[in-house]
Structures are given as structure tokens and as C-alpha cells.
């Protein structure tokens, strides 16, 4: 029988229990300086699943029904489609994903003929993760609608819209066609290995086609294991109110939703952690 080597082939990391505090792949251990086989294969599986998620289509019918029920809508959401016909085209032509196809543009124009102005248009877009939209849009909008309804000020909402094969900027065209002062785009973010279900929120004041990113504010990573829907709705609502007051959005409108939290804390308390505990 061969002697046991003095040092194990795979060296475990004694700080592995820190895994309880983050989804990051820490404490993986090592074979030499390389990944142990089981950790390598776990990564490969996650990557395979994320690649598959990119190609999973939005179940529009199901989502429309779920939103109508959850939000107690009198009319079903309007179903729209970008100029990108399918996923393959969507991935290679971002410009197509930023505008409506002719058919649904006409449909939206007819729906918006009343010339009524709205305070906010909400646009739900599949983006790169239909799963994110499918799972998180109803809970988030329930929380947001509740805040809007109980606010002292009046908020008039444009008809809710659902977009297939869309990108963030498609909200600008939709918001403009609906005569909305502000637009909220809820979109599936690029799927990560640990988060195939992450929703992004983009707000633009005075939407019109052709606006650049510096006119938008973003709240990212809305999902059960990330930013909770209630907190996301609270932050978004603060942004929206500030945008309405200042009549602008983007870089000039800083997200100040955390300012109170920090000032309420003691100077060092907010950054306390085990690394600097003593």
C-alpha cells in the first residue's frame, strides 16, 4: 500500500462556511492552484443552464392573464412585438429590438388615440430572460400599484404593455405613443450563472425615440434572491416622484433612496463586518 501523501490532493478552504453569506463561488478549494473537479462541473452545469435560459421564449398569454388578475386590470395588457422577428435576429440586431414592428405600432397608435396624457406608462419586456419577467413582474407591479394608489398625489397610468423580443429603448417609443410623462421599462436582464431570473427597471422622463442612456435611471437585480420587489418598488417610486418634481431623469437625477439609511446609522455601524470587527 502506498503511503498517504502528507498534504491532500484537494485542499479545502477553512473559510468555506462563509458561503452562508453570499451566492458568490467562494471557498471552492483547490487542486494545486486549480479548481477541484466537482466545482468545475458545477460551473459547467450552471453555464449550460444560463445558455438555455437565453433562448427560452416568453409565455405571453400566461403572463397577460397573471398580470390582469394580480393588478385587477379592467382591460388586458396590450401585446406588442419588436422589429426583431426571432431570438437569433434579436441577439444580432439590437437596433431591431429597440423599435416596434409596423403591425404593433399601428395597433398601439389606435389604442392611444384618445390623446389623453398619462403620468406613467409601464412596459414589460422579455429582454434576455423571459423567466425574470414571468416570475417577478406581477409581484413588483402589485407593490408599485399599491404605493401609487395610496399616494396623496394622483397618478394616471397608461394601458399596460407587454413586448416580445424587446430592448430597453423600445420603452421610449411606446411611452411617446401613449403620451406618457414617464415610462418604466421592466426587462429581463442578461442571465447570470446564479441568477437566470433577474429583472431590471429603467425609468425615463419625457420619453421619445432616440434618447440615450444618460437620460435613464436604472434599478437592477430585482428577484427573490436579490433586491426584493417591495424595496425595488419603494426606490423606483422615490425616483419617479423626484423625476416629476424636477421634470428630468438620468444622470442629473441621482438615486437618493439610501441617503436616509446611512445618516440614520452610526458612522461605522453601516460597514461593520467580520473582517474589521475588532
Amino acid at each position: 500500500m502506498a503511503d498517504k501523501p502528507s498534504s491532500p490532493i484537494v485542499v479545502e478552504n477553512p473559510w468555506e462556511r462563509l458561503n452562508a453569506f453570499t451566492d458568490a463561488r467562494i471557498g471552492l478549494g483547490r487542486a494545486g492552484v486549480s479548481l477541484p473537479t466537482n466545482k468545475l462541473l458545477a460551473f459547467q452545469l450552471a453555464h449550460a443552464q444560463a445558455q438555455d435560459a437565453v433562448h427560452c421564449p416568453l409565455e405571453v398569454e400566461t403572463l397577460a392573464k397573471a398580470l390582469t388578475e394580480a393588478l385587477d386590470l379592467s382591460k388586458a395588457p396590450l401585446r406588442l412585438h419588436s422589429y426583431a422577428q426571432d431570438r437569433a435576429m434579436y441577439l444580432q440586431r439590437p437596433d431591431y429590438g429597440r423599435r416596434l414592428n409596423d403591425e404593433t405600432r399601428e395597433y398601439l397608435q389606435q389604442a392611444a388615440e384618445s390623446q389623453q396624457r398619462y403620468d406613467l406608462a409601464v412596459v414589460v419586456v422579455d429582454g434576455l430572460s423571459a423567466l425574470a419577467v414571468q416570475q417577478n413582474s406581477a409581484p413588483f407591479l402589485s407593490a408599485l400599484y399599491q404605493m401609487l394608489n395610496s399616494d396623496a398625489a394622483d397618478w394616471t397610468l397608461a394601458p399596460l404593455t407587454l413586448v416580445e423580443q424587446g430592448r430597453v429603448a423600445i420603452g421610449d417609443e411606446i411611452g411617446a405613443l401613449l403620451n406618457a410623462d414617464a415610462v418604466l421599462v421592466m426587462i429581463g436582464e442578461r442571465p447570470g450563472l446564479s441568477s437566470p431570473d433577474s429583472l431590471g427597471l429603467y425609468m425615463t422622463w419625457a420619453p421619445e425615440p432616440g434618447l440615450k442612456d444618460d437620460r435613464r435611471n436604472c434599478i437592477s437585480n430585482v428577484r427573490p434572491a436579490g433586491l426584493q420587489v417591495e424595496e425595488a418598488a419603494r426606490r423606483f417610486f422615490l425616483l419617479l416622484k423626484e423625476a416629476r418634481q424636477l421634470k428630468l431623469s438620468g444622470v442629473q437625477l441621482k438615486d437618493r433612496s439610501e441617503d436616509d439609511v446611512l445618516e440614520g446609522d452610526s458612522a461605522s455601524g453601516s460597514t461593520r463586518n467580520f473582517l474589521v470587527a475588532d
Partner: protein
Amino acid sequence: MAQTYYTTVGSRSYRFASLAELMAKATPPRSGDRLAGVMAESAEERVVAQMVLAELPLTTFLNEALIPYEEDEITRLIMDDHDAAAFAPISHLTVGDFRNWLLSDHATSEVLAEVKAGITPEMAAAVSKLMRNQDLILVAKKCQVTTAFRNTIGLPGRLSTRLQPNHPTDDVTGIAASILDGLLYGSGDAVIGINPATDNVAQSVKLMRLMDDVIQKYQIPTQSCVLTHVTNTLEAIEQGAPVDLVFQSIGGTEATNRSFGFDLSTLAEAEAAAQSLNRGTVGRNVMYFETGQGSSLSADAHHGLDQQTCEARAYAVARKFNPLLVNTVVGFIGPEYLFDGKEITRAGLEDHFCGKLLGVPMGCDVCYTNHAEADQNDMDNLLTLLGVAGCNFIMGIPGSDDIMLNYQTTSFHDALYARRVLGLKAAPEFERWLEEMQIFQDISTHRLNDQLPAAFANSLRHLPKEPSHGG
């Protein structure tokens, strides 16, 4: 001033309507140029464009601006800051001769350092289009760019890493856990840099304090950075926050940068503000820039240029403000701009070459997204090639998985692989610290300590019993 270029190959004649078109068509194929409609229409047209480009004198780029001087402050920066004396030794060359000269034994590291102020981004981009991958590696290796703040980055035989402990809700314990993991794998000499989950000033200040506390407690010879908008960092400085480096994403046209919400005067203000804090111990490079091919097209601000030429122009912005680190985030933008592993690899080598040739302390975020045709093997290849090329720094993230930005980049393990196979070391000040802290059993062979170093074992005793949830 605009000139049309004609040539004939066999029985076919080719016409390139402008210098911009010639540059674009000479570019190795990539999806972003196809999206912009500027790519060569055939493989033959591409090589013909390269042949025409090879005959152009370098001075062409001083006489003909790709984006008009009046319209674009980056063009004005390039033209106004051009150093004619530094350019003199290469002023007689064509683009093709320039490639030969760069590869020749005349172009030593010392000579390249002397001429860099005479090279414009367009000259660098043009010559790169004629170069094979091995040319890009060989010349980049000769160009050494060294910078310093609390340690020295870019010395020959060194490969530094940015420790990137991102967390989707900026949870302080979660971030601290990733920092610990990284430090114990020898990562973090380029910077400990966090992308905050939400872009706001208070959150950024909180993260700056968190990293400053860690750096001070363990006396780590490195620097921290929160990758928030430059105007947020300026506000943080006014509030008295511990700012080491100022971050900003930059592009190669004025309109790109405007879409990012800043201009050159903002960067000048930021550099001065950060330098006024005097927080560096061995140097005064206080800026950290990120770039990446495709950002100008993405912002609809590319003026008909190919994406690699736009990218090279971003390095003119970078070098104006004496950065500690410049990082091309090569595969982050997605398959619309760089479709697969082959295109990402080529772009990474081009960016590193152009940056170094222009005197920029170039690193690379060797990365890809889940909607690109790329995988870990592509990243292994690019990492190895860049290690050979003398890249200043790469990213380091737990297990390659950025759980906040949702993409894959190089891991702590990957950096140790590269250091081990290529015989590279961390920044000298940081390397000494790794040894003193007993993180390595034998740093010369990159052999990590199997035991938990004493200082960190003590910290782990302060771990809370229950995970804290939320931010």
C-alpha cells in the same frame, strides 16, 4: 480634405470612399462592424483594404481627421496633444512600414517609450489591422507602462489582479467574504474594486469606507475603488469619503462620453480632486478607466467608424489623465459587437496592443456573457495570450461568476494558473505583503498555505451566527 482610395486587383477595381471606410473595411471581421454596416463585403475586399492602408503614410492621420476637429473634443485632444518631436523618428513611415518598424530590433522598449507621444490612436488602430495575433503580442510585450499608487503596477514579469467582490445587494458581509476569499488566493494588487448594485452616492461612500477599513486594518499595499459615475465620486470626495481611485467608463468620441454623462473637463476635475487627497504612498496615478469595443456604436455615437478605431481613440482620453489602470472589458458588451470566442480574443489582443503602444497601463477583463458563443476555454486561451503579451492586470472574481453583473470573468484560480505557467508575480509591494501574512507557503513557486493565516483565522471568529439578508 477627404480623399477617395482606388486600387485594382486582377480585373477587379476597388474604391474606398473615405479614410474611415478604408479603416473599417481593413478590420478583421466582427459582428459590431457588420451591425454598423461598415464591414468589408468580402474576404478579398478586406485584404485589399489592408493593402491600400499599408501604403498610406502615417502623416495621413495628422492631416485627415476621422471625426471633424470642430465637432469632437476627442479629435481636438488627439491633434492638439500630438508631440511632433516624438513622432519625428517614424514620421517618414507608411502604415505597412510602421508594422515592420515595430517588429524590428530598432524598436526597443526604450525607443517605444520615446515615440509613444507621437503616435495617435488612429495610427495604432491602422497598424493593428495589418498585424497577426503574434505581432500584437510581440510588440505589446515590448511596450512597458508602469504606474503607481500604493504599489507599482506593470513592471516586467508581473501580472496584477483587480479583486472584484461584487454582491447583488451590496451586502457588507457578502462583500467581505469575497474580499477574504480573494486575498487568501493572492488577488487584489491592482485594486479592490466594487461595482455597486445601485448607483447612488450614499451607497458608494459606504462601500468606500468598507474597503478602506479592510485595507487599513490589514495594512494591504493596494487601493480601493467604487465603480460609480465620476460625478458621484466627486460628490463623495466633497463629503470627505476615503477615495483612492476615481472610476469612469470612457469612449472614443465626444458623443459617446456625453451619453455616459461626462466630458473631458469632468475628468480633469476628478483627477485634481482625487490627487488633492494625497492618499497614494508610492505614486499619484488616481484614475481607473474602463473601455470596450462597441460602446460608441451602442450609444449611436460612432460617426461611421469601425468599433476598434473608436476604442483606440478612447485611449487618448485615458492617457490624458494619467490613470493607474485602464481595462478593456472585452466580452461584456455581448454578441452583437463581438460574436464569439474568436472575435473576443482578437479584440482583447488589439486593445491591449493599442493601449500599450499609446502608453496606457492596459489590463483586460477577459470575459463573456451567457448570450455569446464563448466559454471558459476561450477565456483560458485569451488569458494565456495576454499573460504572454505582458498585460498589466486582469480581473479576479470568486469562481469566475460575477453574481451582480451577470457575466463570467477570470477567477482567483485563473490568475494563479497564469502566474504559475508563465512565471509571473504580483506587484512587488503586494507580493511582500502576501509573504508576510503567510498567505503563501512558498511564493516563488506560487504554493499557497494549506493552513488559514493567523490574522484571518482571528477575523473568522467574529463571523455572525446567522446570515444577514438583504442590503
